[in-house]
């Protein structure tokens, strides 16, 4: 049973650039959430996608956007990168259809460094 996968594992960008991170949910899951984990902090909720629509958004600027595809995989896009965007970006999946929305399973994360 494949777990949550994310790509790439590491990424280095410069200020002002744009980045796209990718996530494939656990097999059988239909809901994807994204979190940002700054160094030494707990993860912070960015947004959640279900049926290719954004269900809820955390306190992040519009520079952060996302997308969910028909196969339930998802992308996180960040425009106009700032130094403060350097963090570990975590994807989590769960399943509304299976009645297990509450439990989220996390991927290994993408570590983004902005120089």
């Amino acid at each position: 049973d494949a777990g949550v996968t994310q790509s790439p594992t590491h990424l280095i960008k410069t200020r002002g650039q744009q980045v796209t991170l990718r996530c494939s949910p656990k097999s059988g899951h239909d809901t994807v959430s994204w979190y940002q984990q700054a160094l030494g902090q707990g993860p912070q909720f960015i947004f959640q996608y279900y049926e290719e629509e954004e269900r809820q958004r955390g306190n992040f600027p519009d520079r952060f956007s996302g997308h969910q595809f028909p196969n339930y995989s998802s992308e996180l896009n960040v425009n106009a990168l700032l130094l403060g965007d350097s963090a570990l970006y975590l994807c989590a999946s769960s399943s509304i259809r299976a009645g297990d929305l509450e439990t989220q399973y996390f991927g290994p994360g993408t570590r983004l460094l902005v120089l």
Partner: protein
């Protein structure tokens, strides 16, 4: 604002000793509670969860936690720790009936097991 407090940023303990990691949450509504573990340079792994039912929850790797509604706490315990338990532990909460199951995390507790 809803929040999770992990009272100890670091907990040093000797191998084979018992340990308790503390977690308190702020809420006047029903909650779901989770403990996740994060090993260095990895994503989050679900240790255990409380959704309903028995207030004593058993998880993987010999960990357990007890939900105390009156004290709004969900402390994590293990009777005998191993060197391999050294990791960052995060307590998280989501709210029953919320628009999504977004998780609110504490700042984490580093469990440092010494030989």
């Amino acid at each position: 604002a809803q929040s999770v407090t992990q009272l100890d940023s670091q907990v040093p303990v000797f191998e084979e000793a018992p340990v308790e990691l503390r977690c308190n949450y702020s809420s006047s509504v029903s909650v779901y509670l989770f403990w996740y573990v994060q090993y260095p340079n990895q994503g989050l792994q679900l240790l255990l969860k409380y959704l309903s039912g028995s207030t004593l929850v058993k998880g993987i790797n010999g960990f357990e936690a007890e939900f105390n509604k009156s004290q709004t706490s969900f402390h994590l315990r293990k009777p005998s720790v191993h060197i391999s338990d050294t990791a960052e532990y995060f307590c998280a909460v989501s709210y029953y009936g919320g628009a999504t199951n977004k998780l609110i995390f504490g700042t984490g507790t580093l469990l440092a097991v010494q030989p």
